[in-house]
Amino acid sequence: MSSLSDKSAQEISDLLDEYGIKHGPVVESTRNLYEKKLKEAMAKGKRAKPSPDKTYYREEEEEVTYVYRTPTKSEASGDRGAYPRARQEWNERDYQNETSYSNYSKPKPEYNRSSYGNEPDMYDTPSTYRSTYAKSPPMKSGQDVPDAPKSSRLIPLWVQFVFFLAVAVFLYLVFSTMETNETPKGIK
């Protein structure tokens, strides 16, 4: 990744949009700040990425091909006479099963097209599911945490509480040391 200071203002602006950082114009005085923000966002791990074009599910395609192949299976089993043909079809079925079970094997060109647009190196469907699911809770918790402590107070909250407690204790002492004059003589 080339250094941020080499990028043009427009590129910085685009990067800020990608990470969902609201920003103004990228000019001389604001550039440093935005570069810093981008570095922080990148260090946190890429939360926002450019949206993928298309996502295809492998399982769907495999199911379709499996359904398509079943008639040939019954056909092959019925046909005993044509030995080479049955053999060929059995080989085809075997190959089909192989590709449907082994998701990690080298893909055929048609399967290559159906792989995910944004993460081409991940063929395993369950693991991508898990990874996208794992992303959302940290995102949400990440958003909650910065909001809570950033309340700008002139007097810190704990100081306020301590002061309040001190006042409450003082009042209790005042009440407890007061004597109720029940004698009929009273104060005269």
């Binding site: 103004g24 700040l33 002139l154 306020q160 309040f164 109720t180 104060i187």
Partner: protein, 116 residues
Amino acid sequence: MIRTRSRRVGEGLVCVCVCVCVPAVRMSTTSQKHRDFVGEPMADKPVTALSGIGETLGKKLEENGFDKAYVVLGQFLLLRKDTEMFTDWLKDSIGANSRQASSCAQCLKEWCDAFL
């Protein structure tokens, strides 16, 4: 239950304490400097007129080319009046602490709400 004088005095004391303490603790107090700045157009006021900006920070701002309050206002506006961004910028550029930076940001925000 006979309400004696001493008890009445105690209750009065409680009321006074509550009336004084609760508002002071609960309300966020603005400084005189803040109120002075937000109360009128800034014209050619120096940067030290901004709430949270004292002599030291004022000098640092001037070194960076921000010699008048309206120039700092310009920076605030460039950052789209986002107090958080502006606070970060102040901390980064002149080494202000959180209290000073947020005080200045709040001051400018209120000025903008009133006059911009």
